[in-house]
């Protein structure tokens, strides 16, 4: 056991690992239902854009097992689940705006009967013309917000004066979250119209508020509990539809109601990642240094604002990735389309912004016939100059140059580039490609007030600790890491700390477990609570035992040590209790230093940055477009990791999820706005054979967070997803080899086999 003066670095298993592998970990659908529990199902729109003429639910009501049916008229309060803006009606009254939009719901005696019942609805629509793609929306100027413009310097004149100019456009695709546990909620009515709601959500506090508003009740009448969720990735940050409808059914029937979407409904009803389209003009010198950039970024936001404004903002804040852009202008179009509302997804727009600039860098390098590695380095932020971002924030923790150089050596990049060129010159039908890409990702919610967290810690008289905080355990190991921090701070073995469900009645007004900052924020809040309890204890001990010690006591190995006096933790807790000392405390944390002016796009939106880099080598089959990843080398900065095994898991998992986004994961809508990829048979996330044949992942050894973050660690939540950018550009490199690197391939993401083959065909036609 390390004492609290040391930083932790302990790869213990996930807190629930034993329960995961034995099937004993309880998820929302696993909670045993009391007798009389009803089961819900949602009936949804079959049109993408239409006036609702009539909803005939007679057959639904008559269907076997149906106890109750709810529509918009059953909602006593706010008929909207929009988290920031309105626009997400629970059940629309007059008009449907996407294929899959909920229209009504039933509660029946079994899941099967509820799902059968909803299929019996007869709904007549007056169809309107729907807008499905970004291009259609741009053409019709169908935007959710007015165009946002940000500008630094004078890009137009810089571009005009530059030696080289390139113009082009680029698309990155949508992505379905495909958390393995779908959306599910379980609502139990209590006295006074109170509700207890178990929900698979990343955001219990907002679930509570939205349900309260829907029922026209106060927040104090709704309690939301979450023990763990089976994956979130952003897809459970604002999706309050399921829990709200579940709560409404429970409210109306006065019975417990469980509502679990099946996979198809989940994918059809809920939002996905924003597709982005960019149109750019860039000026650069003969070494590839960017002198000016003008770019239009348009995103497919779906039918409502949801979090699109913040997501697009993060795209704008990451359009630089790791590059110093002296003169830049961005226009941002938030397109409204008749599709499910696009929502948060790991990376939150940052990845889309970064892909846009990486594609530009790649094209510059190809244009100049230089290795993209050199062009990237040329443009990197530096330590003492070129260190102010386009939003006016000074980089104080920049390690990208070090990480990059280190990885270039470690991965043997330069030698392999030569070997690959040799291989390609000898092989006609298989081509290899390689790419190295950097990641710089800003940490903090860009909506400043969200950067706060609370915790509640109790020490019981037997010396055991009860830990509660506002963060959600969704696989990222936040509970494990925070319990490690708490145990270490008390100088106790990990097993003494019991983590309990996240609960709005224990810790109020929490932010979503999102923006990679769950452990940073909640860990600090938990430590704040611990420090308050410790203060009580220390005051008691020093007074009672007349210790006049100027130095801080040490908590180690189950003892509290004041110089040469030591007290056994369990014993002194007993004593403290008998002397009426408070052994429980709430804790609070708010991130310092950050401020951001959204109007002029200036300030310090991020507390710190995460850095990393990846080298990927691929082989493509030029006859079929098939491809494999031969090798990936990653070096990622996790600061001083609390639990390196957990961080490694985040890095590898994030990479593979990003790989899926940029290669095989393709969301399709037909011209009528019906999503056609809504189950694992049609939507493919990476499976076991897709991962790199060689996968060398390392945490950057010199990493340390310069800011005062718990354990001097850096989060690994979202940033590793962007390491997968290297996969895309390695594929592009392999395609380029077909034309002997003379022509720049045209390739949009995701680089499916089809897109690769078509890109090769296009390239050959231009030879």
């Amino acid at each position: 056991m390390k004492n609290n003066n040391n930083l932790i670095n302990d790869s213990r298993p996930h807190d629930s690992a034993f329960k995961h592998v034995s099937g004993l970990a309880e998820y929302t659908d696993d909670i045993k239902e009391p007798e009389g529990t009803l089961f819900g199902a949602i009936g949804w729109s079959k049109k993408a854009n239409a006036i609702i003429k009539k909803i005939d639910l007679n057959e639904v009501k008559k269907s076997v097992g149906v106890i109750s049916v709810v529509t918009f008229s059953d909602i006593p309060g706010r008929n909207d689940v929009g988290p920031v803006f309105n626009g997400d009606p629970i059940f629309p009254e007059k008009k449907v705006e996407y294929y899959g939009q909920p229209l009504f719901a039933v509660a029946a005696t079994s899941v099967e009967l509820a799902r059968k019942a909803v299929m019996k609805a007869r709904i007549s629509y007056q169809e309107l013309e729907s807008i499905i793609t970004i291009k259609e929306a741009l053409k019709k100027n169908n935007l959710l917000f007015k165009v946002r413009k940000i500008k630094k310097g004078n890009p137009t004149s810089k571009i005009n004066k530059s030696k080289n100019i390139l113009k082009g456009n680029f698309t990155t695709g949508s992505q379905e979250h495909f958390y393995l546990e779908g959306q599910v909620a379980f609502a139990l009515p209590k006295e006074d119209n109170d509700l207890i709601v178990y929900s698979s959500t990343q955001h219990p506090s907002e679930t509570q508020q939205i349900i309260a508003k829907m029922l026209n009740q106060k927040s104090n009448s709704i309690t939301v509990l979450v023990r763990r969720i089976g994956g979130g990735f952003g897809g459970k940050e604002t999706n309050f539809m399921t829990s709200s409808i579940c709560a409404l059914l429970a409210y109306k029937t006065r019975s417990p109601v469980k509502l679990r979407l099946d996979r198809d409904d989940d994918i059809i009803i809920t939002g996905k990642r924003h597709e982005f389209y960019s149109d750019y003009e860039v000026g650069f010198d003969n070494e590839g240094l960017i002198t000016g950039l003008k770019i239009k970024m348009a995103s497919k936001c779906g039918m409502s604002p949801d979090l699109s404004y913040a997501i697009n903002e993060r795209a704008l804040l990451h359009i630089d990735n790791a590059y110093f852009l002296s003169d830049i202008e961005v226009e941002n179009y938030l397109c409204k389309t008749n599709t499910s509302t696009s929502t948060a997804f790991r990376g939150f727009g940052g990845n889309q912004g970064m892909m846009a600039i990486e594609n530009i860098i790649d094209n510059i390098a190809r244009h100049l016939k230089r290795d993209a590695l050199e062009v990237r380095k040329k443009n990197f932020y530096q330590k003492n100059k070129k260190n102010i971002t386009h939003y006016g924030m000074r980089l104080e923790d920049n390690v990208i140059n070090e990480v990059f150089d280190n990885l270039v050596k470690k991965s043997d990049y330069k030698k392999r580039v030569l070997e690959i060129k040799k291989f390609n010159s000898k092989n006609n039908y298989q081509k290899k490609g390689i790419a190295i890409t950097p990641v710089k990702f800003g940490i903090s919610f860009t909506t400043i007030h969200l950067n706060q967290a609370g915790a509640l810690v109790h020490v019981y008289t037997d010396g055991s600790i009860h830990l509660n905080h506002g963060g959600i355990e969704m696989g990222q190991g936040t509970h494990t890491k925070i319990a490690q921090l708490v145990a270490s701070s008390f100088g106790l073995p990990y097993e003494k700390v019991k983590i309990s469900s996240t609960n709005t009645s224990k810790v109020p007004n929490t932010s979503a477990s999102a923006a990679s900052s769950t452990t940073d924020l909640n860990g600090a809040a938990a430590l704040n609570a611990v420090s308050k309890i410790k203060l009580n204890l220390e005051k008691f001990i020093t007074t009672k035992y007349k210790i006049f010690h100027s130095k801080e006591p040490i908590y180690n190995n189950g003892y509290i040590i004041f110089g040469n006096r030591s007290f056994k933790f369990e014993k002194i807790i007993q004593e403290a209790y008998l002397n009426r000392v408070s052994l429980s405390s709430s804790g609070f944390y708010s991130t310092p230093k950050i401020k951001f002016n959204k109007k002029n796009f200036q300030g310090r939106p991020f507390y710190y940055f995460c850095y990393g880099a990846a080298v990927t080598e691929v082989t493509i089959d030029t006859l079929t477009g098939e491809n494999i990843i031969n090798r990936v080398d990653i070096l990622h900065d996790a600061g001083n990791a609390i639990n390196p095994a957990i961080e490694l898991g985040q890095i590898e998992g994030g990479f593979v999820q990003g790989q899926g986004w940029l290669t095989i994961e393709e969301v399709n809508w037909n011209s009528k706005g019906q999503i056609t990829t809504f189950s694992p048979s049609t939507y493919k996330i990476p499976a076991i054979s897709d991962i790199p044949k060689k996968f060398n992942v390392e945490i950057y050894k010199d990493g340390i967070n310069k800011e005062n973050v718990v354990n001097k660690s850096k989060t690994t939540g979202e940033p590793p997803l962007m390491l997968a950018m290297s996969v895309f550009f390695a594929i592009k490199d392999a395609i380029a080899s077909v034309g002997h690197y003379k022509i720049t391939p045209i390739l949009d993401a995701p680089a499916t086999s089809e897109k690769i083959l078509m890109s090769i065909k296009n390239l050959k036609a231009r030879l």
Partner: protein, 478 residues
């Protein structure tokens, strides 16, 4: 003897259910009736593996452990099997099974929702193999999706099992389970629950009787497609005849020039035999679907479903396969290329069933097959191409080309074949044949591939086949 009661082993005891609902999935039974919630529903179509359970089956006085998707298997098929759930792997003194231990040790779980499924697939792998290389691990786990880990720690956990002796409680209690399984006698099962009927005849004779009385019944072989009518379309299947209790349909006869495969033979069993004759057939079968699917799926099921994207069909077509149909009248043998009529319609008449599939063995021929899909594992083909060529003195004596995914039925490329047959084996003639594909097929656009891409790869696969033969070299990535 006919009974409406199914019997299976659960927790080392015989468990009986009288008149079960034949439309109930095993997953719902486990979660709702047994109240065991370790087994999860991820997709209800056998596509994610979260519901993986293991069935112990008596084979040659030993127990074979089969991982299956509980979400698309019907309750009555538990009859005469041992049901093993993730919770059952913990030993009687509360210790984790070696497979579970490895997953903890190597950080194989993050959100934990897919974990029970992985545990069960890995458990079946552990019980059925002595050592575990990359190929066995990837094959065993390709039907389990994980969205958190990126699989590396799971692979490491599986690899670590190489150093662990197989002396778990399942080995300890094996004799007892074998004896219990033997106690459950083979009977004809006939269930009549509300308006739903289920038959599991134990002989062909009995099957014919049942079919005669119920010509409108759905034949259930693997059921990996049929079950979706319940789990996805939310329909009821009123009458089901389950074929896999009939031992006479589970066989593989290898003769000198031919392999005959019984309709009830699992794909997993078949792929092991066919590997010797047609390695590419084996490779494609491994990618046909996950172990969970191939443990129950059958070649006859794939034929009867007649999907244009069924992976075995173009292969069987190119091999001039014949099928034997049985039924009220005499057995008839028909060439497979005469069997498919239109989209998912075949010549199988009411009351008829597929008895077996006869695949010729061409020892001198070159046989090649390729599957192109968005994802390597467990995906449906965009295009599947199969080529069977007899070359004599650089002359193409006979050629069969068939594609899946190119038309509403799996079919042969007659025009391309015509160009190639009796020609000299040359790039020129292949280039000509490639152009014929435009007239052989009119593929469609869907979420898997566009029609232009489909045509492009169909052509390129023919060229790839030529190049591989010409250069005597395999040009593939995996």
């Amino acid at each position: 003897m006919t009974s409406n009661t199914i019997e299976f082993i659960f927790n080392n005891k015989i468990h009986k259910i009288s008149n079960p609902d034949p439309n109930e999935t095993i997953l719902n039974f486990i979660r709702l009736k047994l109240k065991k919630t370790g087994t999860k529903e991820g997709c209800a179509e056998g596509g994610c593996g979260a519901c993986t359970i293991v069935l112990g089956e008596l084979v040659d006085n030993n127990i074979q452990y089969k991982a299956i998707n509980a979400c698309i298997a019907f309750l009555p098929i538990l009859n005469r099997k041992q049901l093993i759930l993730v919770e059952d792997l913990i030993s009687s003194d509360g210790k984790l099974h070696p497979v579970q231990n490895a997953m903890v040790k190597f950080h194989g779980s993050q959100c934990g929702f897919c974990t029970p499924g992985f545990i069960m697939s890995m458990f079946a792998m552990y019980k059925n193999n002595k050592s575990f290389n990359d190929e066995i691990i990837n094959d065993s786990l390709s039907g389990n999706l994980c969205r958190c880990t990126g699989y590396r720690p799971i692979i490491d956990a599986a690899k670590s099992l190489n150093k662990i002796n197989d002396n778990d409680e399942f080995t300890k209690f094996k004799k007892k389970i074998i004896n219990l399984l033997k106690k459950i006698k083979l009977k004809n099962i006939e269930i009549n629950k509300e308006n739903k009927k289920y038959f599991a005849p134990s002989t062909i004779l009995e099957l014919k009787k049942v079919l005669k009385k119920n010509p409108d019944a759905k034949l259930l072989s693997g059921g990996t497609d049929l079950s979706l009518e319940i789990t996805k379309s939310r329909k009821e299947i009123k009458k089901i005849i389950y074929l896999n209790s009939i031992k006479e349909l589970d066989f593989i006869y290898t003769k000198k020039n031919e392999i005959e495969v019984g309709a009830g033979t699992s794909l997993l069993k078949f792929e092991k035999i066919i590997k010797k004759y047609y390695p590419d057939f084996n490779t494609i079968l491994k990618r046909y679907g996950s172990v969970q699917i191939r443990n129950v799926g059958t070649i006859a099921g794939n034929i009867a479903t007649a999907s244009p994207i069924g992976d075995t069909l173009p292969i069987l077509l190119s091999l001039d396969t014949k099928i034997i149909l049985d039924g009220p009248k005499k057995r008839e043998i028909i060439p497979l290329n005469k069997f498919f009529i239109s989209y998912r319609k075949t010549k199988l008449k009411k009351g008829q069933f597929i008895y077996s599939v006869k695949i010729p063995i061409y020892k001198k021929n070159i046989f090649k097959a390729y599957k192109i899909s968005k994802r390597f594992d467990d995906d449906i083909s965009s295009v599947c191409g199969s080529f069977n060529i007899e070359i004599n003195k650089n002359r193409i004596k006979k050629i069969r080309i068939a594609y899946g995914g190119m038309s509403e039925i799996p079919k042969r490329a007659k025009n391309a074949e015509k160009t190639l047959v009796n020609s000299t084996f040359s790039e020129k003639i292949f280039s000509k044949a490639i152009k014929n594909l435009d007239s052989d097929y009119k593929p469609i656009d869907d979420m898997r591939a566009s029609k232009s891409y489909r045509m492009e790869i169909a052509k390129n696969l023919l060229m790839k086949c030529f190049l591989e033969v010409k250069n005597k070299k395999i040009l593939r990535l995996n």
